[in-house]
């Protein structure tokens, strides 16, 4: 499939933004200035971006604890995300949510989620809204290999099939749920699970943006056409610990180095588009430079932004009191 140049450039920029956002957080977290838990998405960028390149603001996604990549790919403002992570009143959730709860309903981002398996049921509901309101939208649940074992996830696969919802279930399989390998924790296969619930299954290499884009395009088109849910199984590697501070003693010493060497979606993307003569290196370098500036500005701004006020504590528990 032909992907428009504009889309490609936007996708490259989104992937680079995620990479730099996360690498910067890794550095900033170590200084102790960032409160709470932070789970980095580095290495998995092509999954969020390849899927979301097939979506519009009218479509809905639900994310996970490892949510920064999905947010950026769906169009959440980087500055507002950074401010949120720093607990500032300018944050997308006004400093009340933090890294694990970034949400922006205006761009169809139903939230990162602190509860593993929290997203898939919500996506059944979002898909039901799209279907009932006939707005042409599709709902996409991102969830990990670990989350694929939660009852909520398995029940959602069934419900989506029973209701023939315009939903896509994206299993982001990075081989680990915390410190436990998927080979230990996941019985059977994702493919057989999809078949068990009567839905089509597609898998792809998550370090290849083009593969993800194509597979997701097919899955989303299927759901959008009213033919029911699809499972998309994306194979990935996580480059950092489960959360910041995890020493990763459960992984072979060379595993991350090899993932960085062989499965770097940004390098693979660049090689492919420059070799095909689609872009000059200099165009991509310009993007890199612009993103570097954007992240730098976001961090400086976040550190400088005002803290929430005491009245904020009591605000927004209910719409009406």
């Amino acid at each position: 499939m032909q992907i428009a140049r504009e889309t490609l450039l936007r996708s490259y920029r989104a992937m680079r933004t995620i990479r730099m956002f996360e690498e910067r957080l890794h550095v900033e977290f170590a200084t102790g200035e960032i409160p709470g838990f932070v789970h980095l998405y580095c290495g998995e960028e092509a999954s969020a971006v390849g899927v979301c390149a097939n979506l519009t603001d009218n479509d809905t996604i639900a994310s996970t604890h490892r949510g920064h990549g999905h947010c950026i790919a769906k169009g959440v403002e980087v500055a507002g995300m950074m401010a949120e992570i720093y607990g500032r009143s300018t944050g997308v959730c006004r400093g009340k949510g933090g890294s694990m709860h970034i949400a922006d309903l205006a761009c169809g981002m139903l939230g990162a989620n602190g509860i593993v398996g929290g997203g898939p049921p919500l996506i059944c509901g979002a898909a039901l809204s799209h279907k009932t309101l006939r707005d042409g939208g599709v709902a996409v649940a991102f969830y990990g290999d670990g989350a694929s074992n939660e009852g909520t996830t398995l029940e959602s696969l069934n419900l989506a099939s029973v209701w023939q919802l315009p939903a896509v279930f994206v299993v982001e399989d990075n081989g680990y749920g915390e410190a436990t390998g998927a080979s230990f924790a996941c019985a059977g296969t994702q493919k057989a699970r999809a078949a068990g619930f009567g839905m089509p299954y597609i898998e792809c290499d998550g370090s290849d943006y083009f593969a993800v884009h194509e597979a997701a395009g097919e899955a989303i088109a299927h759901a959008r056409a009213g033919k029911g849910p699809v499972m998309l199984h994306v194979h990935l590697q996580r480059w950092y610990g489960h959360f910041e501070g995890d020493a990763m003693t459960y992984r072979a010493p060379n595993e991350v180095a090899e993932a960085r060497r062989d499965h770097d979606c940004l390098r693979l993307f660049r090689e492919r588009v420059t070799q095909a003569g689609l872009f000059e290196d200099s165009v991509l370098d310009e993007v890199d430079a612009a993103v570097t500036d954007e992240i730098e500005a976001a961090v400086l701004q976040a550190k400088d932004d005002p803290l929430p006020q005491s009245a904020d504590l009591l605000a927004d528990v209910y719409v009406r009191y």
């Binding site: 709860h101 602190g114 080979s183």
Partner: protein, 342 residues
Amino acid sequence: MSKKSFRQAINEALRQEMRRDPTVILMGEDVAGGRGGSAGTADAWGGVLGVTKGLYEEFGETRVLDTPITEASYIGAAAGAAVTGLRPVAELMFVDFVGCCLDQIMNQAAKFRYMFGGKARTPLVIRAMYGAGFNAAAQHSQALYPLFTHIPGLKVVIPSSPYEAKGLLISAIRDDDPVIFLENKVMYDVEEEVPDEPYAIPFGEANLTREGDDVTIVAFGRMVGMANEAADRLAKKGIGCTVIDPRTTSPLDGETILECVADTGRLVIVDESSPRCNMATDIAALVAEEAFDTLRAPIRRVVPPHTPVPFATVLETLYMPSVEKIEAAVTATMNHRVTEKV
């Protein structure tokens, strides 16, 4: 006797009970950690905060079971194993995750004994972390003990120090009823002298951590330390406080609370759980009903506002009870003047 952290005290209680009784098993997400990992290590984590570290090494995979991320099935499995001969200690990690498995606790484990006409025993312990103070935000910071206390058939334990944690966990494991054992996540590195040998602290027997004549303070878990500090500061101002650590919210040692209130005539309750239908309201009702005539001032509650736990430090600090807030509440009850009715 030696100095041990809250974390070490819990680990030691588990280890000693597992040595004593081969039917005691552990299960939970990454309670060992590393299974299926490319390094081939087991016991990579020993729980997310290292509380069960080393137990896999000693007891092996038949007694320390890593689970997939499936709270409903493994908490339910622990309940099922408990009612059929094992003594499982299941770790739920963050107590907030009870949302994923409440049925197995509330409708299954808690009900067996009564519903089956007294024929079942369910020696199940569910350990979980609770509390705010970590910037862990709304889904990882709740203090849900009132939820469990509300359910007949469950026992609920909230240790306030390393010494308490070891003795209460040993009792929990030996108990034949389902016990929810709640560990404040901010306390794992708190240290104090803890006996090396096993000892059991009975449920339903409150501990007085301070004694004074003017005001009774009831506090739970991490709040006990804050109440002690407030009492020490107030003592310097000439106000004497009795601090009660009930240790368990179910069973609740109402008698000790009523006795102390009879002596002091003033009551402050410190509870970090959401303020509606929490332990503070429960104890206030008990005292209002049973000891109305001994009260010399309105009961005061030091509790968070009725909001989810916010993320940002400034908001989380405002949200939490504190030593200053406890002092202010005690001072307010001392300043209360009864106006005679005409």
